[in-house]
Each structure stands twice: as C-alpha cells, then as structure tokens.
C-alpha cells in the first residue's frame, strides 16, 4: 500500500473570511489551524472533515504563484493531498513509472509536513501533493499557533476575535488579490 488516505483538498479563494462563512456556518466545519506562509504568499486555514481536511488558501501576494493561478483559472480546487507511508520511496516509484514530478525531493510544507508535488500533466489535470507525516508535525502546528497568538496579544487584538478575526489579523495590510483573468503560471505551489 502506498496511499494511506486523502489528507486534504486545497481550495483557492479570493477572501478566506467569506469562504469560511460557507464552510463553517452553512456546512458546520470548524477551522482548526491557520498559518501565514510568506514564502508562498498565502494564508491557509484547515477545516477538519472526518479523517481529512478542507484547506482554504487565500493569496496575499499579487506576484505569488497562487495569485497568478487564481487570476488565470479563477477560484476553485487547487490540489489534493494524499498521505503516503514513505514519500521518498513513492517519488522513486513514480519517477520509474515515467510520471512527471514538480519536486523530485521532498520539502517541508505547512505544519511541518514532508511534501512533494506531482505534475498535473501526468494525472489528467489533477495537481497531486504527496505527504508524509513527521514526528515534529503536531508540535510545530502548536508552536505556530502559540507564536501567532503571542504576536496578536502584543498588538492588543486577541480579545474575543475568534478564528476569523485571527485570520484577519494574519492577513495584515496586503491589498486583496483579485481573482480575475490575467497571465500566470499553471500552478503556484
């Protein structure tokens, strides 16, 4: 067995607060973890659904790959992430089968996961992320949340803001990224 489960489904949205209104208020999924990833130019929020998560991704950097993707393709599903037992062994197996890889070596993604992307040219248009858990992952999620809570407390913003207020504070002062067509790369992670 290579794939253990669907870890998450990532959805690019122009406004993460408005998207949470649908997923939380209308469908009852609670955001559990959120993170600002400056290197990727995004804010992400994870909403557990059974053994998987819905990941909402808002681009906050006009020049980032996810912003370019959203301008080209519009909001919607960006990728799916599958948990595998052994990411290096899986990448070797895919490479041997002639599958085109975006990452030939695993790298560290949101929450401290070991991740790698498979190119959608080899999967009929589906951007597939592979993920192997690391022993550090739960501790890193907690550490990220603690650090952000401390920053927000310093700014006097922590009282009763809830997760949406917390995300708003994470977003900071960037201009919102508009989701409408322009030129861009195929995908931006």
């Amino acid at each position: 067995m290579v794939v253990k489960r669907v870890d998450h489904i990532a959805i690019v949205v122009p406004d993460i607060e408005a998207a949470i209104t649908f997923w939380q208020d209308a469908l009852g999924l609670e955001p559990e973890f959120t993170e600002r990833l400056d290197a990727e130019g995004v804010i992400v929020a994870f909403l557990p659904a059974g053994d998987s998560e819905i990941e909402l991704v808002e681009p906050i950097d006009e020049d980032g790959g996810v912003a370019r993707y959203m301008r080209k393709r519009g909001p919607g599903i960006h990728h799916i992430c599958l948990e595998v037992d052994d990411i290096r062994a899986t990448l070797s197996r895919l490479k041997a089968a002639g599958v085109r890889l975006i990452d030939e070596e695993p790298r560290i993604g949101s929450g401290g996961k070991k991740i790698a992307f498979v190119h959608p040219k080899s999967t009929y248009g589906v951007l597939v992320e592979l993920y192997e858990t690391t022993p550090e992952e739960p501790a890193r999620r907690l550490e990220v949340l603690d650090r952000m809570r401390r920053q927000l407390a310093i700014q006097g913003q922590v009282a009763a803001m809830g997760m949406v207020g917390f995300i708003r504070a994470l977003r900071g002062r960037q201009h919102p990224v508009t989701p409408y067509p322009g030129d861009g790369e195929e995908n931006g992670c």
Copy 2:
C-alpha cells in the same frame, strides 16, 4: 455537526483505463467498485483511499453533461462529495443561508446513495456534492457488480480480465469522447 467526512473526489478523465494505470500502478489504489451510468453517460470507478474514495469518471456519451464539461474545461477534478448526517436538513440550512442549489431535493446516485449538488457559484468554484448513506447502499453495490459479472460471463469474457478488462467490457462500443475544447455547460451531473 453537519459534514461527517469527505466521501470522494471525482476526477473526469478521457480514458479510465489509462487513469487507473496511474492511480493503481503508481500510487497503489485498487479500484473496488465500477458502474456504467447510462443516464449520465459515464463509466465510474471508485478507488478507496483511507476513509474516502477517488472516483474516476469517463464520459461515454458525446452529448452528456460530463462530456461537455470535459470539452470545455479539460480533464481534472470535477467535484468533491461530502457525507452529511441528514441531507434534507442540510439542504434546508443551505437554502436558508442563500446558497444556490442544483438539487433542492435529494436524488439517487451511483451505488444507491441519496445525493444533491450545491452550485459552484456559491462555493468559489467548487462543485460540492452532498451525500447521505442509505441502508440499501452496500447491497445495491453488490447487486450491480453481480449483475455485470453475470452479463460478462454470458458473453464469455469473464476469465482473468481483472478490473480493467471488466471496465473495458462496461464501456462497450461507444466512440471515445475527446477531451478538447468546444462549447458546453458548466458541469454535467
């Protein structure tokens, strides 16, 4: 709690046998259930991944909604399906929240499920299927497989064909649907 888990992720592909080569041979997911849905003009195959499934969908009717979708948007993720406790209560809640629904009443989908679709206009471009299990569902899956195996045995095709041969037999004599641009509706389920 409204949503219990991600039931499946549906991927439209021009050739279900070739797609299975990637998902099965390269990622180790085994097709468990397959069905030809003449009303929708598709063959579907479900590959369990943990508590969810990957659904591969090949359009076999040039004039069907899924074929039109693939001509317009190309192969790729078509929809995600979320299992809910009570589909009627969920549809009422969504309607009250102003969410646009494709199906205001649940209908019966593949495998005997009660299903309904939410319009992607209300979800930032994600076609969401809601699903409530029915007591008849496992029996209906078995009955569909048994009926098809009997039909294939009658045609003398059953020996050692495996799941891919079985799917090939399901496809029958339709011309393959080409996945390239043309006019079509937004989605076809």
